[in-house]
Symmetry: C2
């Protein structure tokens, strides 16, 4: 065996499993795997490219069995992710393999007859889908020998990064707008790592982070949603893998996905395409639908107007985790919705609150506002004839209602306040 010389600062060679390069989504330019996110040729976004066939020849059945024998978290899909084969042995929050809930009561209420499932990602370690993307970014940071994990965030991501960094053994320093709600500050800061409030709005925080990456201070820093973004994004593919595996290795007819940057939707489509190519599911048509809040609906607006470009908006919605006015992957979302015969739709804040309550009272799932957007849009799609109720549909709940209690608090009250007597209870008319 040859002696290997390791040139990087890390003590082991980077190992990205089946990933072989970064590839520009716009011009196709390929660059080596590294902590970079924009194409040097055309400034397009870089994404991870794979050679799944490399290594031992393995048929679909063998791969399926290998996955099924894996751990009950996203690492069962390590053969399809930019991570080493032994990733499950490294300290990580190990998110994923959340419940796919058969939502018969919700289906009845919405008039869906073809079957409805809710993929409930509130079951992740910090109770949002962010744990999936952060987990992959953490392993990329480990591969690159980075020492500090960071991000710009309005709350959920900061908490997910803080928790993941602690478990994985990194320092973390995350940046948030200085005037965030107390609860979100606590969720980010409780992990005892650095949380820095920036005097400014989320755009100012983002700009500051871009500056920091270019400065010597930022050496050794991995920003999950900036210089580690190509890896981070791949985490969303696992939603596609899990949905298909949990359905018995087959594609649903429709998937409804909330849109913030649009990355989750594009990566779910990428994941479905991979499953088809690898023969893990049988190819058949599927439709992808995007869900936005009316108060931040740049993609939905473009979709309805038949535009290819997405005009930025100034967000104003209670669905803050989706409030990205200039979504990076907006044009790709439009492509996918149109190619698959889906749609992009939006609902207003009242409809978001109603949908949170609808999901809670039919399925016992308490979703955050983003989940309300998704279920609200699902309802609207059925009502407006944009979604076939006889088709099998999966809707994604990306986070937990405990994170956005304020959205429903004003209209969620006790049925009655009574004295501790049976007479008083009888008078309340609830007996």
């Amino acid at each position: 065996m040859a002696v290997e010389t390791v040139a990087s600062a890390t003590t082991t060679s980077p190992d990205f499993g089946p990933a072989v390069a970064l590839s520009c989504r716009e011009c196709g330019e390929r660059v080596p795997l590294g902590p970079v996110f924009a194409c040097a040729v055309c400034f397009g976004p870089l994404e991870v490219a794979y050679e799944f066939s490399s290594g031992a020849a393995e048929d679909a059945e063998g791969l399926r069995k290998r996955i099924e024998a894996g751990p009950h978290n996203i690492w069962r899909y390590a053969p399809l992710l930019p991570v080493p084969a032994d990733v499950a042995s490294k300290p990580n929050l190990n998110p994923g393999f959340t419940k796919l809930v058969k939502a018969d009561r919700l289906a009845r209420e919405l008039g869906i007859t073809g079957g409805l499932h809710v993929k409930d990602d509130s079951g992740n370690p910090t109770h949002s889908f962010k744990d999936r993307v952060v987990a992959i970014a953490v392993e990329a940071a480990r591969n690159f020998g980075l020492t500090t994990l960071s991000c710009s965030s309005t709350g959920n991501l900061a908490g997910a990064v803080g928790a993941a960094a602690v478990r994985a053994g990194f320092r973390s320093c995350v940046f948030i707008p200085h005037d965030l709600e107390d609860g979100k500050v606590v969720m980010a800061a409780v992990y005892g790592q650095d949380v820095v409030g920036i005097e400014g709005n989320y755009d100012d925080v983002n700009r500051f982070c871009s500056e920091l990456i270019g400065d010597p201070i930022g050496e050794g820093w991995g920003f999950t949603n900036v210089n580690l973004r190509p890896y981070y994004g791949e985490g969303s593919k696992t939603l596609a893998y899990e949905i298909c595996e949990q359905l018995g290795w087959r594609l649903p007819d429709n998937i409804i996905i909330p849109i913030a940057s649009g990355s989750q939707l594009t990566k779910i489509d990428k994941g479905l395409q991979e499953l088809i190519k690898l023969g893990l599911v049988e190819e058949k048509p599927y439709k992808i639908y995007g869900a936005q809040a009316e108060g931040c609906s740049p993609v939905s607006t473009a979709f309805k107007a038949g535009h290819d470009v997405v005009r930025p908006q100034k967000p104003n919605t209670i669905a803050k985790s989706l409030a990205i006015g200039n979504p990076a992957d907006g044009p790709y979302v439009l492509d996918i919705a149109r190619r698959t015969g889906g749609a992009v739709e939006d609902v207003n804040d009242d409809q978001v609150v109603d949908a949170i309550k609808l999901l809670a009272r039919t399925e016992g799932i308490f979703a955050e506002t983003a989940g309300g957007v998704t279920i609200g849009v699902l309802k609207k799609l059925v009502e407006t004839g944009q979604l076939d109720p006889a088709a099998e549909t999966v809707a994604i709940n990306t986070g937990d209602g405990l994170k956005t209690l304020d959205a429903v608090a004003p209209t969620t009250r006790p049925s009655a306040i009574i004295r501790p007597t049976l007479d008083s209870f009888r008078e309340a008319g609830l007996a």
Copy 2:
């Protein structure tokens, strides 16, 4: 085959799987399985009795394989619970099989060398262990043909019952003190079922519920923690099963368990004893430790004083989910701690907050105050020499920090507030 006459209001015969009777913990009197909780002879608590050997002869290896092939939730243990064999096909929140986290960083910090795991029950559907006990109560209610699920609660249980009732197709009507925090009211009421505020404290709520059970209004009502309590309590056994299975079908040396009523601790011990009897784990000594908050420490006080009886206390602690001043299972907890060579210890509210933060910054797990009590007591047990650091220990986190944000909010702040410039960041000293 004989034709069966069904005498009850239900359309199918009750099927409690391996459970054959209720048995009085005090006098051993046996009564048929029913929605009753107190012995008619001595008023002792009734608990579920099993005949595991009935039916087909099956060796331990066969049973273990059957469990391992089961669903990834508590229903994999259906052969050991008072539920029908096909329970997994019924609509239920399907809690359990939460993560057993190898807590190496916490172990190092505490000086534990024999291995430390945290059983993280915040991963359950409504983010507390209550989902386990409620799930079994729901199936009992189904078996008895009850139509309304109820409970007295200070918050967590009300939410767990509300969500479970919705999923399982029951009406629910839960009772809480009228002056609960808004967040807890929302968590209980968001499921759209009846939540009734009672003008009085938790004791008044409890008294009212006991009255309601005896009244015709209460016909068809299942109170999870009153008339369904024998079944409800069995849900906690699944914590014992999961810990041992996740360790590779073996007993740990020590388990640290928070004490509210004490039921969870006694049922975990019952579960461990069952695993030994059934040959699913090899018999060896284990120690069970109970954890209380100093502001509500009736069991700890009795343990230290060498008493057999538990003198009630008026609770005053931030660990509200453990604040039961007159714990029903207190004497049994004392028995178990003494029999196994464990202990019962308590920590004050500051230590609870410190322990929440300790767990968060070492393992990325954000626990509710009850989890802080458990980890705080673990730390104290090691420091005072009551727990052998060279032994293998499991500590249980019973709930999620999002539910008790207020406990840590005042002392969990950003590291710095800066202007969005690199100079300002440098000045903050975090670069």
